[in-house]
């Protein structure tokens, strides 16, 4: 009550210098966001003008003939991200259920810390580990047996390579797991406890309560967490660059090398000769930026509306 009146009175005063200062400083975040898009558009303008909309649908990538298109990279980015999501989603929701479970006790604390540390490990360290440890293991124990048995199914066809679309997706799935788990946990915790209690009071088991009450109530927020993780996966650069095999083609098999938007920029930008080549790479960056921006705004709106509903 008292706090409300104090605030109401101070609001009637003219804006003071402090308010103006902090308001100006607070514009830094939106302005950076805007500047990123504008500068990328400006630097990518030569390529945008030269190739037009065909840039997005062309599979070509030839620095010698200056024939550039984004399709192979868009495919690689979307494919790795979706496979990573499919792998990480069940585990992420499972971890979130565990972390939101009141009865899990002390184990919950240490697993929570572990998941946070998973998010803290630098991308390049995941990449290093993936190149020297995971990729050889995946090749021998997953890719080759699968390709040998199910090779006739085109998507699983050989020859399998250690650095492939599949390996990149696997690393990505580990890297987006913390985002999925942490955001889903918050959403699940925000489900009103009355719902859980009513369900248990009706004699439902833990699983019936979770599957029939908690998860439906948290559905939209978990979807938001998934979209947020998708945004992370789309933009992830270094670890993917180290294990995807870097071949600018649309592969027919998940065990073949591919390329993503972020990795082709990381690999080729400093070596790009000529204005058109580097501006084509910047246009790829602009495409990536606009897609992740859209995905992230969508995710934030979803997560927010769930939080608001839970509060109401």
């Amino acid at each position: 009550m008292i706090r409300g009146t104090v605030l109401a009175r101070s609001r009637r005063r003219p804006p003071d210098g402090f308010r103006l200062l902090t308001a100006l400083v607070a514009l830094a975040a939106p302005i950076s966001l805007l500047l990123i898009v504008l500068l990328l558009a400006q630097q990518g303008a030569p390529a945008i003008q030269h190739y037009g909309f065909g840039f997005l649908t062309s599979r070509a990538w030839n620095p010698i003939t200056l024939d550039f298109g984004a399709l192979a990279f868009i495919f690689g980015t979307v494919a790795t991200s979706l496979i990573a999501l499919a792998l990480a989603l069940p585990v992420g929701v499972g971890v979130a259920l565990f972390l939101a479970e009141p009865s899990a006790g002390r184990l919950r604390g240490s697993i929570g810390i572990g998941v946070e540390l998973l998010a803290a490990i630098p991308s390049v360290v995941y990449g290093l580990w993936a190149v020297y440890v995971m990729a050889p293991f995946v090749l021998i124990h997953i890719e080759q047996p699968l390709a040998a048995r199910f090779g006739s199914v085109g998507v699983l066809g050989g020859p399998a390579r250690g650095t492939s679309l599949f390996t990149a997706s696997l690393v990505l799935s580990v890297m987006i797991l913390p985002t999925l788990a942490a955001v889903s946990r918050d959403v699940i915790r925000a489900v009103p406890s009355g719902l859980r209690e009513s369900s248990v009071a009706l004699g439902a088991t833990w699983w019936e309560t979770t599957w029939g009450v908690i998860l439906p109530a948290a559905r939209q927020g978990i979807f938001g967490a998934t979209v947020l993780a998708l945004g992370r996966a789309l933009g992830e650069t270094i670890a993917v660059t180290m294990v995807i095999g870097n071949r600018p083609e649309i592969p027919t098999s998940v065990f073949a090398p591919a390329y993503t938007l972020a990795s082709v920029i990381a690999n080729e930008f400093t070596e790009a000769t000529g204005q058109l080549y580097s501006s084509a790479l910047i246009e790829l960056g602009l495409v990536l930026m606009l897609v992740t921006l859209t995905v992230n705004v969508l995710a934030q709106l979803l997560v927010r509306s769930t939080a608001r509903e839970a509060r109401a």
Partner: protein, 284 residues
């Protein structure tokens, strides 16, 4: 009876699945840490590793001093930019940011957290490298600052919101100006939480590679001048890991271990500091 048995069994299986996923999530963490420690230790055991800079393949005694110095300088400069701006933005969000403007800034910083780091690197390149025609540590620091900013903003806001309203009311009741209340009462009370945010942001920036590729670029000699190209630990790991020479790969593992230890220490410290914040806020 049969139906109840089915319910019990499915309940048990679901529990096993949930506990299993929780443990499975820790497997990659354990594996990455175990390999980094065991493969990196032989490099790190040698003091030369921290004192010497790059040496050509075949000449023993090469180290990562140049990369360590570069990372410290660039992350330090980035913090000088991002931390004050982030704190003031966070103060704005709590003090005045209840309306539409505040929501817009919140949304912008949450979206900025998810912006691809490679795009931020290109942005810094366009802003500070292309116009001056040379790579520099400063351009990398700006890219890292953009990465750090949203983390500092949101943790500052969260930390200040933990402070009970009575502290603000006491200050205002004494006739203090709004800025004095904010900067001399609220911010100091929320200091541990704000430090947590800064530490998390530093940990994030120290491990980033992608924004440095076309800004800091890398350097083989020890360079302390941020207007010139600089080496950095993550950049060194990335470049050495792709070389066919065991000596380079060995150093990559060593540098990765240094990086992981740095990041884990900052993370665990921030966790400790944050616990103090909660204890402090509950006492106010």
């Amino acid at each position: 009876m049969n139906r109840n048995l089915y319910r019990q069994v499915s309940n048990g299986l679901a529990r096993v699945f949930v506990y299993g996923t929780a443990l499975a999530a820790l497997i990659p963490l354990g594996l990455v840490l175990a390999y980094t420690v065991s493969k990196g230790l032989p490099s790190v055991e040698n003091v030369d590793f921290f004192i010497n800079s790059f040496r050509p393949i075949g000449i023993p005694g090469g180290g990562v001093a140049h990369a360590l110095a570069g990372t410290v300088i660039m992350v330090g400069l980035a913090s000088l930019l991002a931390v004050p701006v982030g704190i003031l933005s966070g103060v704005y969000l709590v003090e005045y940011g209840r309306g539409r403007w505040g929501d817009l800034i919140r949304l912008a910083s949450d979206v900025l957290v998810g912006a691809p780091s490679i795009a931020i690197g290109l942005f810094a390149y366009a802003l500070l490298v292309a116009p001056f025609h040379h790579f520099s540590g400063i351009s990398a620091a700006v890219a890292l600052a953009v990465l750090m900013l949203p983390v500092v903003i949101r943790t500052t806001e969260g930390a200040i919101e933990l402070i009970p309203g009575s502290l603000r009311e006491a200050g205002l009741a004494l006739g203090l100006a709004r800025w004095r209340v904010a900067l001399q009462l609220i911010v100091p009370a929320a200091a541990p939480g704000i430090v947590t945010g800064a530490l998390l942001a530093v940990a994030r920036a120290a491990g980033e590679t992608a924004p440095l590729l076309f800004t800091a670029f890398g350097n083989q000699i020890l360079n302390l001048d941020p207007s010139k190209p600089m080496a950095a630990l993550p950049l060194l790991v990335f470049n050495y890991a792709r070389q066919p020479y065991p000596q380079a790969q060995q150093q990559a593992w060593g540098a990765a271990l240094v990086l992981v230890v740095l990041v884990l220490i900052t993370n665990l410290t921030s966790r400790f500091v944050f616990r103090r914040q909660i204890a402090l806020a509950s006492k106010l």
